[in-house]
Symmetry: C2
């Protein structure tokens, strides 16, 4: 009997496993779920007859090799840096591999061997990267098939709180790794192209150079630039495109408010604060403000950030209890970023009955038959609960669908792949619609980078 091995049974694997368990009978395969905790692995099988939970430490060579040898296809849901251990064994034992992570240099280096052996190593098939690749390439290929020439590609994704659970001033809660949210945008200037000109935004201005996006039925969002838009030129074959921009979506007002932390230096992760465990939130804030023998931390904050009396920004700070003299950071050797994460997690952690939401928005500008045109396309997916979150669905379902199609030899192109070919995106995008992961398209006139139609 055919066997799929899933390594890593964490939060992002719930929908993946549910999907595969449901298919296992009709499609005639077994599922082995390996996790560092055997208990966790067994629990997640829910006693399903086609599933087995096993202990699997990816750094335990014997355990790993044995589990991989017994599989026909391996899905690694581990953090990206751990895939390579499994990937090398997949080459050695002739197994297909699926991951939702960006292709690392080490992974790319296995391309030739995988090709020779006829193995499909499918990566970047979660949500971002994943659904973004597939939904973008589907439209880009369609435009090209008609003879159109791509002028502009912009793409935005956000992991947010569902409207029904949106009950704070920031319109934001942590629906994924909080640390990544606190550090977002760091590590160098954001670079992209607008109308043929390179553009760079330094980190300390990133959250003030946002643009707005509207989605029917969901209202207005904003987006700030991702660091690495330019790498999509070669991936999507957009070498001659005039505008290439990728960004992260938030609810309106989030970025400007987040910029308060950036400006004060609270997102810095490069140094530790002495005696951080003994600091109150209030003392933590004061680290970033000038000394005064007389003035309150509140007024110093208002002054440093130019927050007027009637500015909602102020209440966004108050909502976090960030001026509390009682609440303690309580973390030893905390960086400013880690301490900020602690403060935010008090308020931004999802409650049991709250739901998350994934939003995605693409803009495709092109020229066809001498006319400039534009297609906007967007998708909203809302989580069912805290187990089958929108994040788990949009990451796990494409992984599962790709895995099953590879197992069934419907996806066969060997080598280190990402889902940008019709063979992959057509069937998977179609099946995703049955899970309410649907892109809505709007044909508009070409707006380019002058959407308000400003004239000189």
């Amino acid at each position: 009997m055919r066997n799929i091995l899933i390594i890593g049974a964490g939060r992002s694997a719930t929908s993946l496993i549910m999907y595969l368990l449901e298919k296992s009978g009709a499609e005639d395969f077994r599922l082995t779920i390996g996790d560092i905790s055997k208990k966790n692995a067994e629990k997640i099988t829910q006693g399903h007859p086609n599933a087995t939970g096993i202990e699997l430490d990816v750094f335990n060579e014997d355990q790993r090799k044995k589990a991989i040898q017994g599989a026909d296809l391996v899905i690694s849901m581990l953090p990206a840096r751990f895939h390579i251990e499994a990937a090398r064994d997949c080459i050695a034992f002739n197994k297909h591999l699926v991951t939702a992570s960006y292709v690392s240099k080490e992974m790319q280096a296995l391309d030739e061997e995988a090709r020779k052996k006829g193995l499909v190593f499918m990566n970047e098939i979660g949500v971002d990267p994943g659904i973004d690749h597939m939904s973008a390439m589907q439209v880009i290929d369609r435009i090209r098939d008609k003879g159109g020439k791509m002028l502009l590609f912009e793409s935005f994704t956000g992991g947010l709180i569902a409207p029904e659970s949106d009950n704070n001033l920031w319109h934001y809660k942590f629906t994924w790794n909080p640390r990544n949210v606190v550090l977002a945008g760091q590590g160098g200037a954001a670079e992209f192209i607008q109308e043929g000109t390179y553009k760079y935004i330094p980190y300390h201005r990133l959250f003030r150079r946002t643009e707005f996006l509207d989605i029917d039925g969901f209202g207005r969002f904003e987006a700030y630039a991702n660091r690495n838009s330019l790498k999509y030129r070669s991936v999507y074959g957009l070498e001659d495109v005039l505008t290439l921009y990728r960004g992260t979506m938030r609810r309106v007002g989030f970025s400007k408010a987040w910029n308060m932390f950036v400006q004060l230096g609270m997102t810095d992760d490069s140094y530790t604060i002495p005696n951080s465990e003994e600091l109150s939130y209030r003392q933590y804030v004061n680290l970033f403000l000038p000394y005064s023998p007389t003035d309150s931390i509140e007024l110093k904050t208002r002054h440093a950030l130019k927050i007027d009396q009637d500015d909602l920004m102020w209440y966004k700070l108050l909502e976090l209890d960030i001026f509390s003299a009682e609440k303690m950071i309580g973390l030893k050797d905390a960086t400013p970023a880690k301490a900020l994460q602690k403060i935010l997690m008090d308020k931004w952690t999802l409650k049991q009955d709250e739901k998350d939401m994934i939003v995605m928005y693409h803009k495709f500008g092109y020229e066809l038959d001498g006319k400039k045109k534009q297609i906007d396309s967007n998708m909203v997916s809302i989580g069912e609960d805290q187990t089958y979150t929108a994040m788990a669905k949009t990451v796990g379902l494409p992984v599962a669908m790709a895995a099953l199609r590879i197992l069934n030899k419907e996806i066969t192109t060997p080598g280190v792949q990402i889902p940008i070919t019709k063979e992959v995106y057509e069937p998977i995008l179609k099946e995703l619609t049955t899970f309410d992961i649907v892109f809505h398209e709007y044909q508009t006139e070409y707006l380019g980078y002058n959407p308000d139609n400003v004239s000189a």
Copy 2:
């Protein structure tokens, strides 16, 4: 006959060599000047009978060992990272060593061997570090000798243009390594202590959190925080001090104007600009501004930086020709910082008849006999010309004076040293006054961090 070897005959060595040549007759020693260019080394001896210029590549082991073996004391004026080659040979051949650079880990590791062999390895004896150490420790030791307790130490240094050569809106020209000026403050938050509280300033706010300093006869200066104030706690024995702050001095208005470059991202040195050699200054500026089909780069700049119609900041930009469509960056693979340096060097390079200036300002707060008091101390040194600059004098003279005293066995404490003991600073500070390098002291009431005497 005794012999001093100087390695590196660059711009900072002129006053050092002049001083030693003048002393060589009466003090009965010879000077060997080693430089990568023999011609340069010979030229700088000026045909003096006690001096020899030789070719010396510090990475040519034979050349280096031979030169060091023939000396009694070695002065390394090379960039800091190259000292260690000479230092290891000084240990091997029992030679004293003098440098103007910060003690590196590798240098510190030689301390025990130097001690055992009775060798003086004197470092940090230029201007900053150097004269700052000596002039600060002289006052701190005097306060302590009287039974005073240090409460506050602030120290500021600046390399500036002399008032008579100060003829641009920035009141600034490059009097030293331009690259270090462009990158100043980068690499992490500035940290210091004010009245017992740790304080941190992120790079993007560093140039807006300045304070003012007045020097009799020279008017008002401003200072922004250095990154590493806290390391002076242990160096100066100030573990219990309430305020510890070191900064860099500029003329008033410089920092706020410099912050325009920081805000736009022009000081970033972490990525290269595609086709940078083909960009005009104007196109370079536009890299950091949003795309517009209609608006001028000038108005986009005013808007991005909130520069009002009547703001002098604007004319500081115009003075640099930064909006020129004709002037070209002309550097391949330039980072934003390297391109900015190019633009600034057009305007900020010293002309033949222009003079530089070194300014230093210390504040010492202390408690004595139950009363809080403060001493402010400052020094201004103006260059003679482009050869005997203030920088060359203030870096080279202390080095030369220390070297001669080590040669004469007046400074004898062995090991890796910095000039913070009376044995070193008393005679050298005294002799420096004969070169018009004089500290003026002012006793004031304790101002601490409430200099305007604000009450709640």
